[in-house]
């Protein structure tokens, strides 16, 4: 954390320092380019290629599993936006994931709406709405909320939603809502398998690119400043609370999209999906992979789910303990996650608002 703070401080003046400094850093980075500078696109490309070809080599049941992992990676992305980029500890991210899942399940059950162009936006909007409400309440206000309050508030929200889902007969109580009809486009039904996989992968790539654009924009720069030193950003005249609420809502929308996909893929929703278990699961993914890099969240989800799938056959009882030990080790010795083994500090922080700089160059 401290290290990254230093790096951001170096990066910010480079951006606001005008053309001279900008040109200098460009020279410097061109010289450095050899090993250190371009790891991220390589990692991203490798992951994408691996994901594209996975269904061709995997057996059917593994493709189904891979689809679930991709959906969870999308979910991890939403948490990473909120925690890795804005420093908001959302211990209740599953609230948006699960409520969207429940929402689309109800749409399918009670209104027979399974059209993909209706249910996915609906799920996204449900996630967005809940995140706006909860985030607005927790983050906005006359006094800035403490980090602890936000994290415990989101945790409590998720826990309360879990209890509500368990006790509410309309939502199926303990059993949740079983046998949701598959998603449809016209008369085509998306059932588990390669088509669903590529649909989810396509959505992940789109969302990933949008997020990548977002966190590398000027807005992303403000967020990074917020994460490193909220007070200073407030002194610069940014409305820190508003920035936080916006990114929290965007995170909620992404989680909602993931949740609605998850509901249709699994074919059922159950109370754990809104609860603390899933909320902490997503924290694990992102911490493992590396918070503050989008690809880290994806890699973390793939590794945690993959290893647990592989180990849980033979070592079902020991696996959660191993997971806990690994998590502890990562927190203690690799706070930036596994991605930090290949990714340099400078590249992790990156640069912001490249387009704005070109404009500045063009204008006299």
């Amino acid at each position: 954390m401290l290290k990254s703070m230093g790096a951001v401080k170096q990066a910010i003046p480079a951006e606001i320092g005008g053309e001279a400094v900008g040109a200098m850093t460009e020279h410097a980075s061109a010289k450095q380019a050899a090993p250190g500078r371009k790891v991220l696109p390589i990692v991203e490309g490798a992951v994408l290629v691996a994901a594209l070809f996975a269904p061709l080599v995997l057996q059917d049941y593994l493709t189904v599993f891979a689809t679930r992992v991709i959906i969870l990676a999308l979910f991890a992305l939403s948490f990473d936006l909120v925690w890795g980029y804005a420093g908001i500890m959302s211990f209740g991210q599953a609230l948006f994931f699960g409520s969207a899942g429940y929402g689309v399940a109800l749409l399918a059950r009670d209104l027979d709406i399974t059209n993909i162009f209706l249910v996915l936006p609906a799920g996204t909007i449900i996630g967005l709405t809940f995140a706006l409400l909860l985030g607005g309440f927790l983050l906005l206000g006359r006094h800035p909320s403490s980090v602890i309050f936000v994290s415990l508030g989101t945790l409590t929200g998720s826990y309360a939603a879990d209890r509500l889902a368990r006790g509410w007969y309309y939502l199926g109580g303990q059993n949740g809502i079983p046998s949701i009809a598959p998603m449809t486009v016209g008369s085509y039904e998306f059932s588990e398998g390669p088509p669903f996989y590529y649909l989810v992968l396509g959505l992940l790539v789109v969302v990933y690119l949008l997020c990548r654009f977002l966190v590398r924009s000027q807005f992303g720069l403000a967020l990074a400043g917020l994460r490193e030193n909220e007070q200073r950003i407030a002194f610069f005249g940014y409305k820190a609370q508003h920035l936080k609420a916006i990114i929290f809502a965007i995170g909620g929308a992404v989680a909602g999209l993931a949740g609605s996909l998850y509901a249709f893929h699994e074919g059922f929703v159950w109370p754990n999906m809104v609860g603390v278990v899933v909320s902490t699961q997503v924290v694990l993914y992102v911490l493992f992979g590396g918070s503050g890099t989008l690809i880290g969240a994806v890699i973390g989800a793939v590794i945690v789910e993959g290893v647990s799938f592989w180990l849980s056959d033979n070592y079902r009882e020991v696996w959660p303990i191993i997971l806990g030990v690994l998590l502890l080790l990562v927190i203690l010795f690799r706070p930036l996650g596994l991605i930090s083994f290949v990714l340099g500090e400078r590249e992790r922080v990156g640069s912001f608002g490249a387009k704005a700089k070109e404009k500045r160059d063009a204008a006299p």
Binding site: H143, S151, T156, R163, V276, T280, L327
Partner: protein, 285 residues
Amino acid sequence: MANAFVAAFEILSFGAIIVLIVLGLGIIASMMGIFNFAQGEFVLLGAYITYLAYAKGLPIWAGMVAAPFVVGALGFVLEALIIRRFYAAPIVAMLGTYALGLIIRESVRGLIGGFYLTVPEPIGGSIDIGAMHISAWRFTIIVITALVMGGCYLLLARTSFGLRVRATLENPSLARASGISTPLIYGATFAFGAALAGLAGALIVPVFSLFADLGLRFLIQGFVAVMVGGVGSFIGPVAGAGLIGTLSAALPWVMAPVVADVLVFVLAIVFIKFRPQGLIAGKGV
């Protein structure tokens, strides 16, 4: 009348249980600034040790007495090895203690399996007052909670150890300069908080029976109680725990349990939002 009395007793005994669990959590949060996610698992460990003593044929009392010492010792070791690294960053502390809790919880789950194991009450039967019967063990819990609460207060407010703890809380560098070994104090405080959790686990296991998610059930309630009461003092979390415990036991008598369950949390969060310093603000005891 009899019903009202039974209801009042139920509410009181549940409130006492929550207070007992929150005591340790509150001391660690207030004195060290750490929200210990492993606290629920310390409760679980206390319960497990009691069960172990019972399963080995020892008197249950022996297990209940041993539990706080064993858990306290474990807390001391964990503080020295791991928790100590987290003081600078409260969020990292949350994640780290969560990982610790995960390890403890899953280890216990591996040991007991997915079962609900019952431990009999060391003091069985009921106390009869006229036509009303109240559980003797629950009554004992209330008494022990009151004693422990008084003991903690005296320890923090009246002894030189308590003075050192408070000094370390208020101004660590000045405390260090005055010759107080702050790492030792932190270690002792954490061990003490863990021991209280162990005691709570030992006492409640006859009521709730032993299962791996026992601690998790109380953890969030505990956090909310600490926040409602106010971090930074001893009495704040206790007051918060009393309030939350009473509310969550009392509301189901007047409305649907599902609604009551959720309502307590919503009310608590709204309360904290508009009064972030909690019921009882300020530092000290």
